[in-house]
Symmetry: C2
Subunit: 410 residues, 2 copies
């Protein structure tokens, strides 16, 4: 077995002692290190890949960056460059992961390179900003974030144990890598859920288990939907049970838990089988945030201390249906939409606060008006949390999986 | 050499498969695992330390917690209990670090136990909330935070690589531990700085280096001051050059970068020599936050896009002086306060926007009125960033260090 290698992405004008120490400690554990410089100053030692090359990959020019002294612009270029370098080196099997050390700028560059690596590849960031809001750095990835505790100023009794731990973690992760993570040993199905659609997902999970599949649920909280999309794009799943598309309500209406405008794209792009339902599209979420004044006269429901919900309106549902149809029409693989006529969530059920069959019917009509022939739409006289609904969803998915495997293996 | 051991702190009612896998993988790398359960349900396997014991250590009762079903109250008890258990086990050398896996509650409990361990002890948290605002979890500690990417639901192709990496990281860190980190090989001095006092700290750093000490600067941004206090409490430093006490302005007046009411306590409690100055006490910081309306008529300065500064007033300086004196009076070790009569920061210098000798004089008077005899106060006809000021500060500290070492080694 050839030695593993990690890319060490670092600004060598300010972090050369730290980089040299990390390289030495990682190498001592039997893992090679490729040093990538992204600094715009004089490097403290000669890197394997100079900052000029990273700037060029980031569509920038190192001479111009040095002259401009615009730190934000330099960081943008180096983020693009480091990510481009890491993606290519990983595909070419020259590295198995990325380790990095830095402040706010270095964390931006290091984690940009980490986020392009697939799930399971070692990603270790030693950061001065690791005790703060790190969502922009981690994104939807399995990034290991180590708080540096102090600003780096060379190797001393404060920085040495942090760097030693980071080197041990990164080398250990590299050595622990085994067979490709996308192997099909366990057949996996991704599912989107919310508290108010949990019965549907739990029932579907049991039925899928009987059929030899493992269901992996994602909370439809924005970051959950984004993560599911990213892991679908990584080819981690055989099929998708996207029963809780509620993030589209937040995206269209302006709630706090939107998963962005690319939700529902990944499975379609790869032709992965999907079954989709309008789970929790009766509600827009305001989580840890006030409901904007423009909704003051609308139907609101205080879900708990941190969450207030807004009932989606017929006109909003027209747009939500249009957007969902647009995404599903573009799918290269099989798609079935199952529409539960008796309600989309625990709150949208007869006698509950968000029950509104008229508003739901508008969503159905919008889907009918906009979906193209490649997408099957089935209306079911059921509530989304009825066991029969989950059974129908699993049946539809298994049918697609059977068909699709026949096709791809032909 | 006996085998290292890590505590694995986990809720065994919901995370038993993950805990079993982590234990197996860590043990396979030659590190023992002590499993601590903090779940209030039925544990999936028998732990080394049951949840009953952790609840008792947290001044709670497991039966009552099970009956109440108050999750927040249970987490509070378990945080206290897990921290108490870990602190004792670490001191008794039964564990060298902590690893944990969990959601928001589990992350609160696991990191509470990590935060009581000293700097350098392995602390690895696998968390579903690691792609968010983690400052409350990490605090001022060298916590390694690994994003679990998905909710845990047993061992599958999604969770396995994350847990495998976490086990490799934790075991690697435990095996990489060496001599006690508080060894006096490198003599270290902690210093507080801000951009507007950086010349003072840089000059002091050069002078200290000549005397065989390494200066470790902390940014006085609230978290920086807290971190410095925590590392002082860990006995990492021989002396403290606390020239930038600006966080007291934010604490007293209501700025955004307060380090809390315990700032300036750690060195005094342990009797560590300190030299203190009123660096940047001319300013209250509003970072990424609007200046409250009550300050609208006061002297404000827009420092950059994210920071607006408020000039401290004479009456505020009276209170700031009182609070600082109160902390220093309590010191068990030697303390010198050096007061630069020509200004506290780059902005509080002749011709600069915050130059106000009258307001500064009020702070001096308050210190004179409140400091007790154990604290030396010296007035210097210098600006804080004058090289002579740094020289005086370093001289005072070195004098204390000489005296103190004589005392403690006598």
């Amino acid at each position: 077995m050839s030695r593993k290698a990690l890319a060490l992405i670092v600004s060598l004008d300010t972090k050369a002692p730290e980089a040299a120490y990390l390289r030495e400690r990682i190498a001592a554990q039997g893992v090679d290190v490729v040093v990538i410089d992204f600094g715009t100053g004089e490097p403290g030692f000669v890197p394997d890949v100079p900052a000029e090359a990273i700037a060029t990959l980031g569509h920038g020019d190192i001479a111009a960056l040095r002259q401009e002294r615009n730190r934000a612009a330099a960081i943008d270029v180096m983020m693009r460059g480091a990510a481009a370098w890491a993606a290519k080196a990983y595909i070419e099997k020259r590295i198995c992961g990325v380790v990095s050390v830095g402040g706010s700028g270095g964390t931006a560059v290091g984690t940009a390179a980490m986020r392009v690596l697939p799930f399971g590849a070692p990603k270790v960031m030693v950061s001065t900003v690791a005790a703060s809001d790190i969502r922009q750095y981690v994104g939807t990835r399995d990034v290991t974030m180590i708080n540096s505790v102090v600003d780096f100023a060379g190797i001393n009794a404060i920085s040495e144990p942090v760097l030693r731990g980071a080197a041990a973690a990164a080398a250990g992760m590299a050595l622990a890598l085994k067979a490709p993570l996308t192997s099909k040993k366990g057949r996996l199905v991704a599912a989107s859920q919310f508290g108010v659609t949990t019965p549907a997902i739990e029932h579907a999970g049991r039925l899928l288990a009987e059929a030899g599949y493992t269901l992996v649920p994602f909370h439809a909280t924005g970051i959950g939907g984004r993560t599911m999309e990213d892991l679908i794009a990584d080819r981690m799943f055989d099929g998708v049970l996207d029963l809780t598309t509620t993030e589209w309500a937040d995206e269209v209406v302006g709630g706090t838990l939107s998963a962005g405008a690319t939700r529902l794209e990944a499975a379609g792009k790869l032709g992965i089988a999907q079954v989709v339902a309008p789970g929790a599209l009766d509600m827009v979420n305001f989580f840890m945030a006030p409901v904007p004044d423009r909704f003051a006269l609308r139907k609101l429901h205080r879900h708990n201390a941190n969450v207030t919900l807004l009932r989606t309106s017929p006109s909003e549902n027209t747009e939500i249906g249009r957007r969902i149809a647009q995404k599903l029409n573009a799918a290269a693989g099989p798609v079935t939409v199952l529409f539960p006529l008796r309600g989309f969530s625990a709150l949208d059920a007869e006698g509950q606060v968000f029950f509104d069959p008229q508003a739901d019917a508008v969503l159905l009509q919008s889907l009918k008006d906009n979906l193209e022939a490649n997408v099957q739409l089935e209306e079911l006289d059921l509530h989304i949390n009825d066991p029969e609904f989950a059974r129908a969803a699993v049946s539809a998915l298994l049918a697609h999986l059977g068909n699709w495997e026949t096709t791809t293996h032909a």
